[in-house]
Symmetry: C2
């Protein structure tokens, strides 16, 4: 049983909520990338979004829609990634209490960043406890509203605002490449594409090691996998959501995969040629577009760069080829 699916009208309403709060991130181009791909590439740079990733859009939209009573009680979520920081920051801006459930062994930097935005971190033992059960317990004990990372209509609508800005700025496109983890960004982007550029092919891009989305898309029902081992930690999800899968089935043209080696090549290209820090997950769309496997010659191609939050030690190592 799928909740009501968000529509493009919900994306437009989310844009209005986010106006003046989220950054309208730049759309960058690169002569070198165009020369290599034969296409005109438009990079929508959510690595320059507040807290460093598109996740702020969905998190803020979801919290901004809460009633006064819900806001007073606060919100809870589970994430050790960008969604954690997004909820913490959005809640701080809106004056709402936020509890973030993280594994005991989450990287100290991620915990510190979340706490830096005022989030209360509650840890659990991921070998013994189920994070969703921990979240439900806190929901019940404190009357808080759960804002999950992707399977939520208001989160999806918020994520769709990035693609909406892209189409507003550059007009219709032939292709749009979007990274795919749980599907919030892809399904929101697809809503925007269908409304603003109906003939645009929307391609979801997953890491090779975790192609549950591709399997689901091809089989027609949600496929669950083990947590994949990939550099694209933001796309190391085990399954799509009910809402995101329904939207993906309806509006996405294909789902493809790229290897970790392709991600590293792209990450280096962004640093060397575009002077931009992009996290591995954020390279998924571009790596597919630059793979040579799509007939992009002469086409207008949008790519959403999802974020730029990196651990300097591992990022530096990837750049240096260590």
């Amino acid at each position: 049983m799928v909740s009501a699916l968000p529509t493009f009208d919900d994306v437009v309403a989310a844009s209005q909520r986010l106006a003046g709060v989220a950054h309208r991130t730049p759309v960058l181009t690169s002569r070198t990338a165009d020369a290599r791909s034969g296409a005109s590439l438009f990079f929508k740079c959510e690595n320059y979004q507040r807290m460093g990733a598109f996740k702020f859009r969905g998190g803020y939209n979801a919290i901004a829609k809460l009633s006064d009573a819900q806001r007073r009680a606060g919100v809870v979520t589970f994430s050790s990634g960008n969604h954690a920081q997004a909820i913490a920051l959005a809640a701080q801006i809106l004056g709402v209490k936020a509890v973030i459930i993280m594994p005991l062994d989450a990287p100290a930097a991620k915990r510190a960043a979340t706490e830096g935005y005022g989030g209360e971190v509650v840890t659990y033992d991921r070998y013994k406890e189920d994070r969703e059960a921990v979240a439900r317990r806190i929901q019940e004990e404190r009357g808080m509203t759960l804002i999950p990372p992707y399977d939520h209509a208001d989160v999806v609508a918020g994520q769709g605002t990035a693609a909406r800005e892209l189409f507003e700025e550059v007009g219709e496109l032939d292709y749009l490449f979007v990274c795919l983890g749980g599907g919030g960004l892809l399904s929101g982007s697809a809503l925007a594409a269908r409304a603003l550029s109906p003939n645009c092919k929307v391609i979801g891009v997953e890491p090779e090691a975790g192609n549950d989305g591709q399997q689901s898309f091809r089989s027609g029902s949600i496929v669950r996998i083990e947590t994949p081992k990939t550099l694209a930690d933001g796309a190391a999800t085990t399954h799509l959501g009910e809402i995101t899968f329904a939207l993906i089935k309806a509006h996405v043209d294909d789902i493809v995969t790229v290897s970790d080696a392709q991600l590293v090549g792209m990450l280096r290209f962004f640093a060397e040629r575009m002077k931009m820090v992009v996290e591995p997950t954020g390279c998924l769309g571009a790596a597919a577009a630059m793979s040579g496997e799509f007939p992009l010659a002469g086409k207008r191609v949008g790519i959403i760069i999802s974020g730029g939050n990196v651990d300097l030690k591992s990022y530096g190592g990837l750049l240096a080829g260590a």
Copy 2:
């Protein structure tokens, strides 16, 4: 004997030549940088300039001013850094032949980049030959015009266009921090500051290991040093130029130094918080502004980031702390 010094009118004329050719680079801000410094910081990001550094401005301006006969004969310069690529690219755009004199042992990547822009690289043995003598020989043999890296009125005027754009965009400032090697960027920026924000303190920033500019500024005459060992390779110059020193004496308020450790701290900040690749030399101005040694509380502070051309292996190592 100093040639005629460029004026702000020359900077304005250079802006007109560069319109539609050079990028009008973005002015970025950072909540975190503001919180740490207590000031409002405006980063003029020449790392996003064509070929990755402000040098394109001066090189293009100088070549664009040549007569038809001079253009037909071509240009020559000596540089193994950003000026080499700037001259190669500017000459390519203007349909002019360019010879770049580089040491035999220049990094292969720098040579390839220069050749990639269509420049003809002529090598010399830097242990046996003098690059200026090599340049003079080519000038005479081929009738080419020498465009030196900084001590040239048209180069200085072109470099001043970046600061001019900054003041146009954000209005008057209390401070402007500019990196200092041979002084082309600093002296051009000072011309713009004096015209557009007369009370702005203009601070040149050198690497600690190579403070010839500071010594010259304080002693009143050009001091020459041995080639300094510093991460800031773009500022590893041995002396100011006649033109740049005259302008610096007239228009700059102070020259300060920062350590390589401060540069690395800044380089990491730019990557981690602003998702931006900045070369070590490009970090000089920001490192001084963030040092806590200036009374910047509540002030409006401009910082020119000079470039973002890095060798990924060494840059990655600096990020990773290797």
